[in-house]
Each structure stands twice: as C-alpha cells, then as structure tokens.
Point group: C2
C-alpha cells in the first residue's frame, strides 16, 4: 500500500515526496472530456458509479500518491436547499442577500445528497483497495457564503462585501449556518471512509488579515477542530491569502496548502514550520516546456528541505489546457528527484 | 493652491493627509452615469471636452486633493493599433498569441490618440487652474501584455501563462514593444502637463516573486527610470502582489500603492519605509456604515504614522455600488482626523 501521502502529513519519513494535483480528475484529461459529453457535471458528482469512474481516471495514468473524491466545494450549499447550477461556472439563481433569506436554508441532516457522496466513497475505497489514500473535501464557510451571496463567481464581489461591512450580524448568522452544513458534510465523508480531508477557502484572499480573522478563520477553525477526533489528517488551503499565513499558523490542521505566489521557503518561515506544507508549483508552468517543469519542481523540492513535511502539488487547480504529458512529467519529476535522497 | 498631494509624495510635511480615490470619476457617480447614457466609454476617453468634464466631476463634490485624468490603462495598446472594445469590460478581438502576431503592433510616435489625451490634459490644467494637481497614468507592460494575449480579462489566464512559460522569448519581445509604447504615453502626458503619474500593474499578482522579477518588474523599472528626469512624482501600484513588495523596494518611484489585503504597517516594514505609501482602505468598507468607514480610516492613519509620507486612497478602485455619501464620508474623515495633529 502506498501510504507516503499519509506519512508525509503525519510528519513521518517518506521514501519520496508524495504528489497529487488539485483538479487531477478534470478537463485536461481526454477520458474526462469524453465522459462529460454524455453526463452533466452535477451528474458526475451525484451518481456514485460515475463519481468513482472520474475519481479513478488519473490515478494509474499519472502515478499519483492520492485520489481525491470527484465532487464540488458547493455541495453543502446544495444540501442546504440552495439551487446550484453549472453553466459551466457555478450559478445560484436565488442568492442570499438579507436576513430574511436565511429562512430558505434547510438542515442537511440525513440528506440524500450527502448519502450519495458517501456511497461513492464506499465504492471508491473498495476499488482503490488500499492502493492510494482517498481525500475528501468541502468549501470553507466564508467561501461558500461568498457564493451564496454573490449567486456565483464575481469580479467585484460587491454583494458579499456589502453584507460583511453593512450587516455583519447577518453575515455571521449565515456563516454559522453554513459551518454546520460543512461540518456535517465532512463528518459524513469521514464516516464513509475518506482518509484525509481538505478544506478549500478559495475566496479568503478577498479579505484583509483582520477581516480574515473576523469572517473566515473562526469558522474554518471550528470545523477543523470538530473533526479532530476522527484522527485523519486535515489540510487547509486558502489561495491568494498569503498575507494571512501568520493567522493560519494556529489552525488545528496537519497541513497548509500554499499557492504559487509565494516562495515555499517564505511560506514555511511565516508558518514557523508548525505544519506540513502542500504545494506550490505555478499551474502555468505545466503549459510550458518539460525543462521548465523539471527546473521549477526541483526548486520547490529544495525549498521544502527540512520542512516538517511536504506534499507536492500545484499552487492551484491544474489548467484545462494542460497537456497530459506535462502533468505526467511533473509527477515523474517529483518522484525521481525526491527519491534520490538529495532533495528530500 | 492645494499641493498637499505633491508635498506628501515629496516626503514633505502636510497640514493634513491628502486623499484621492482610484476610479473617483466613475460609475458610482450619478452625473457620470448620466453622461454614459449619451456617450460610449471610449468616447469619454478620446473626446477632450468629455474627458475634461468626467475628470472634474468628483473633484469639488468630494473635496479631493488630486484629479486623475479620465482614461484607460489600455490606451497604449490601442495606440499600437490593437482593436480595443468595451462591452463593458475590455475585449481585444485579435489577441497576440505568437511571434508572428508581433508584426501587427505599430509605433505610437505622433499618434492621434496620444494627441487627443494630451489636448484633454492641457484643457484640464487650465480648468483646474492650480486647484489640485492632475495625475496621469498608464498600464504597466506586464499587465498590458496580459490583456493583449488573453484578448481581455480572464479567469484562468491560460493564454498569457502559456506564452510566458512556453515561449518566454516572444513574451519578452512583446513586453519590450509595449514598454516603448507605455513610455511614449507617459512622456506625452508629462509634456502636456500632468503633475504626477501612476503606473498600474494590475495583473502582476498573477506571478510568483521570481516571475515578477522576470516579466513585470524590469519593464516597469525601465519606464519609471526613464521618466525620472521629468522631476514629477511616480507612483507604482500592483494590487494582489503583496508577496512581491520586497521586489518593489528598489523601483525608481516616489510612492508605492498598497492594496487592502495587507496591513499598511506590514507593507511599510516590507518596503523598509523607503518610499511614500498610498492606500489602503478596503473598497468594500464604503458599502457599509459611516461608523465602519471612520473606524477603519482612523486605523489606516494610525498605521501610517511615521511613514516617509502617506497618500490616502482605497486599496483598489471604488466599487460602482458605492453610495456617494460614503465616498464623501471617507474623504471628510481623512481630512478631519489627519488634521487634528494626532494622527499624522
């Protein structure tokens, strides 16, 4: 059994640096695009057999050290009863804008959606049969609140900012409600068998550090703390929020994801090496030459030397335009260089 | 004559902290929206009488300490012959994607577009009659290259990243060409009478620090250095690039703009207080309460104490949804608190 991903997260020695790729099951893979011609995105997330197929597509092909459940960070919002469409970006036709909208949010206890995800996880564990560990995930409350209030992605994020700064009490009530749903999602995933979880705070970079401490960190902290008794590693990733790294230092996690806009060594210093780090190759590098991929991967492995632990990954999701052979070159380079004993 | 903006940029004592607002002439103003019903955006940028009217709209109404020419960061690309449309975001229907596209880029010497902008500047200086200084500006080469290659804004920025990492030689040739056009634009603006310039590197935050040093900083540096003999203050602003602040420290500028995602005090430490700082209120705060605006403005004034100099501004452009009275509350708060002698 390949357990180097779990060992690295436990700060134990590894034979070579484990590597997985955010969005490793996704549009850059021809076999994924083929499946997408016949099935909608949400179908892939909610029909267990399809979820299993998509999740497994990249594992053998790329030689990855972990599988990540194919799903979406917005699942808890859908489980709360908000309509979530993908066109192809997420659109929530009836956003939450005021206190009176909160009554539209339901409980997620025993919801069918979490049940279908759990079923996929059970099937996946059997299929993987210990080959590599399975990662579960969810969006963090601040990020989900941003989607719920904006009604999708945004350029200016005016709606969430108007709520945060104009009616912070309602913002906190919304965040509380979402935190309950996210925690329930992660607990259901853990019960079904995921062996690690990642919490994505994708929009936390919208906030200055003080507002991060007000609106993002406390809710992520509560969830990560609450699942601590499960004994599986927890990863927190807030891309674009490197100015808040000092504020992440005390989160109850085993690892912090680092985006590509900060050198891994500087991120480690700012985290005081208290946690394992995950990342941080610029996904754009995989659009370039094999030499560039090797050079920059080697650079990150050097910056990771002496870390509490290191899981290699990109600093953000793999770009749909990435040639598969470049993703493969990245994984091979990690294993080759870190296995020489000189880089790790 | 109100010269506190220029005095602050020269690190001289001021009676109170000068303040202006990025996009202060813009969609949050009803009188701007009224004009926009009759004229297109590009018309407002290129018909000198309209440019003058829009530029002056917020000055008296808000009590600002500087006017900024109403224009667009993409003017140098249009001057090079690239088609630039606004729908309403910028769209370049024929993007630059390969070395063979570079031949489509023309010289800007003596171009009519720069002439019309210069005419507006001349009219503005007469209209302002020394009341407040006039700021000119342009986009920095990396940012303009991003627009030229992506063909507009983007979510993933795959095209520019494919060029940077897949064909860096062509990327550098493109950046060289654009730098010449940007320098010509700023020189024409200075000759026409602007009293300060700001270089916007709006997409520099897309790059990690080493790539910032490779693709963004050298071209900004060359331009800022070349206009040094004009003797007017130079401001450089790269929002979202706070992880590169150490790399900006040695730019030949009088001031660095700071976005809202980093406390002003930390930005000053990372810049070693070598330059004046400009910013950095979260534009979202102007969507909230008057009390919030006052409290956070006071906080920034405190963090600016002891700086080489401070020009108050938002950390990004004012949001179109901002109530005018909140913009006014911001400006009044700056003047009231910084004029008490206790905050500056």
């Amino acid at each position: 059994m390949n357990d180097r991903f779990l060992r690295a997260l436990a700060a134990e020695p590894v034979d070579r640096t484990p590597v997985w790729i955010m969005r490793q099951a996704g549009r850059y893979l021809p076999e994924y695009r083929a499946l997408k011609e016949r099935h909608g995105f949400w179908e892939l997330c909610t029909v267990p057999e399809l979820t299993v197929e998509v999740t497994l597509q990249p594992i053998d092909r790329l030689g990855l050290d972990a599988a990540i459940l194919f799903s979406d960070i917005l699942v808890p919002l859908a489980a709360m009863g908000l309509e979530v469409e993908f066109r192809p970006g997420p659109v929530l036709p009836d956003p939450i804008r005021a206190a009176s909208d909160l009554s539209r949010l339901g409980e997620t206890e025993g919801c069918a959606l979490y049940g279908r995800v759990a079923e996929a996880i059970g099937l996946l564990r059997r299929e993987l049969d210990g080959k590599v560990p399975l990662i579960g995930f969810a969006g963090a409350p601040f990020t989900l609140a941003t989607y719920a209030v904006e009604g999708g992605g945004s350029k200016s994020f005016s709606a969430i900012r108007a709520l945060l700064f104009g009616d912070p009490a309602t913002a906190h009530r919304l965040l509380e409600r979402i935190a309950v749903a996210v925690l329930a999602s992660l607990r259901a995933q853990i019960e079904a068998g995921v062996q690690a979880v990642q919490l994505f705070d994708s929009w936390a970079g919208l906030l200055g550090p003080d507002d991060y401490d007000r609106f993002a960190r406390p809710y992520a902290e509560r969830i990560l703390g609450a699942i601590g008794d499960a004994g599986i590693p927890r990863i927190y990733f807030a891309p674009g929020a490197s100015s808040c790294l000092e504020r992440m230092r005390t989160l109850p996690v085993e690892a912090i994801g680092i985006d590509w806009r900060i050198p891994l060594g500087e991120a480690r210093r700012r985290l005081e090496d208290r946690t394992v780090v995950q990342g941080n190759l610029d996904p754009g590098v995989l659009l370039g030459s094999r030499e560039g991929i090797e050079e920059r991967t080697a650079g990150i492995l050097r910056e990771a030397r002496g870390a509490k632990g290191h899981v290699m990954n990109l600093g953000h999701g793999i770009l749909p335009e990435t040639p598969v052979e470049n993703a493969l070159a990245f994984v091979e380079t990690v294993h080759r260089l870190s296995g020489q004993g000189g880089e790790q």
